[in-house]
Symmetry: C2
Subunit: 258 residues, 2 copies
């Protein structure tokens, strides 16, 4: 690992091969486990909503329209964003610009999910009889903060790490300085998204199951399990981003020239 | 900052004085802001519980006994634990062993808070008419995970960083290797504690206010504000623990000999 830290562009691929057994073990465990949980969270949300909450609809059935909200938010903020963050740890041999572009594409895919998910809950509140007020709960406040941070990160990231490449020499120092800030705020956004999901699931399960929740119904256990998967993801993704082993060549990935 | 990273024991105090304006600014902002929020979270919880929920009692009034739960959990898991973590960033000139001992004392103070807080909620559930089941919700699962991690961290930290000092030469390498793991799991515990609080507050505010919550009552806004303070604390404490500026001499603090 000590050697990895000192890599230069020309020595990069040689050192990649010098990774020891322990490093590959850590890499495999984190990448495989995170991927399984990222897909598992989405699968579990889909299962919960389709099996227990009667699936989806648009404005003709607002309670089913609401069901789009958890699924799309988990898809956008957890699965797509999670893979997008992990890309910098998963792809060790691709050209860096491809990783950057994939990172942008995954986050760009999250945008319609989040937007439609947001619209779905607004509609299901406004079109309900009687209408349900918006933005009064801890979940909604947290969700707004998370969405705000997501947008700021996307816009700043897009302009700084892609658009500014047009004059790459002049902006290299600026981009290099921005990398740790972008990474920290990205991780913050992901953990906030998990916290938003946890409060949202708590709200939803109490509103729909009421007192039955306390008698350990199947649906309650499914929702609680989903919550635990999300917590495990927050821990694993934070670990992946912070781990010095997996981190070893990130700076090169993000700040190097095209 | 580059220089700070290279410190040796003998050069330590000189370099301390070399800290520039920006470093002191970051230090002051993080320390002052975190301290205000750590005390603010406890004050806000006390205000909420005393002003809106009629204060405290023991077994003669189980609904008031419940009120001990949020206050003691915030005191133990947030205020005491938060200051305990921040001590390594606040105290820049004390002898390291004092910081270690203070870190242990603050965490030890959190133990009775958490234990009585846990007992209060168990009692208020079991003695209620009819009794309320335990451990069925996302909040309780999260809380149990957080308490488990807290106990593991305390026991391992106590033995590794204090008891093992009795044969310090032989254990120095082990202790040094444990520092980043202890710090990571400590931060994880703190963020999990915040997530537990957020789900707990969401539960409590829905159970007590019901539909009135959506019409923006004063109490709802107070609880939501408390939740936002806790989120800000999770971000600030994570930043303080990870910041390379504030981090510059931590390794020395924890791994050096007595």
């Amino acid at each position: 690992m000590g050697k990895n830290k000192m890599h230069t562009h020309s020595r990069h691929y040689e050192e990649e091969n010098e990774w020891g057994c322990a490093n590959w073990f850590e890499y495999t465990v984190v990448v495989v486990f995170s991927s399984v949980l990222l897909l598992g969270a989405l699968a579990l949300t889909l299962f919960w909503v389709i099996y227990y909450r009667d699936g989806f609809a648009w404005r003709d059935d607002v309670s089913k329209q609401f069901n789009l909200h958890p699924v799309l938010m988990v898809a956008g903020f957890i699965t797509f964003s999670g893979f997008s963050v992990l890309l910098y740890r998963i792809c060790r041999c691709c050209r860096r610009i491809y990783v950057k572009l994939l990172h942008t594409i995954f986050h760009a895919l999250a945008i319609p999910c989040v937007a439609i998910g947001f619209l779905a809950v607004l509609d299901s509140h406004n079109l309900a009889e009687p209408p349900i007020p918006n933005f009064y709960s801890i979940h909604s406040w947290l969700g707004l903060v998370t969405m705000g941070l997501f947008v700021i990160q996307f816009v700043i990231g897009f302009f700084s790490f892609l658009v500014l490449l047009c004059c790459e020499g002049a902006t290299a120092a600026f981009r290099a300085a921005l990398v740790p800030i972008h990474a920290s705020f990205g991780l913050t956004t992901f953990v906030l998204a998990v916290a938003s999901c946890l409060t949202g699931l708590t709200e939803k399960v109490i509103f729909t199951l009421g007192n039955a929740y306390s008698s350990w119904p199947e649906e309650g256990i499914v929702v609680n399990t989903l919550a635990m998967v999300l917590v495990a993801l927050a821990i694993l993704v934070s670990f992946a981003v912070r781990s010095p082993v997996l981190h070893s060549n990130t700076k090169v990935y993000v700040t190097e020239r095209l």
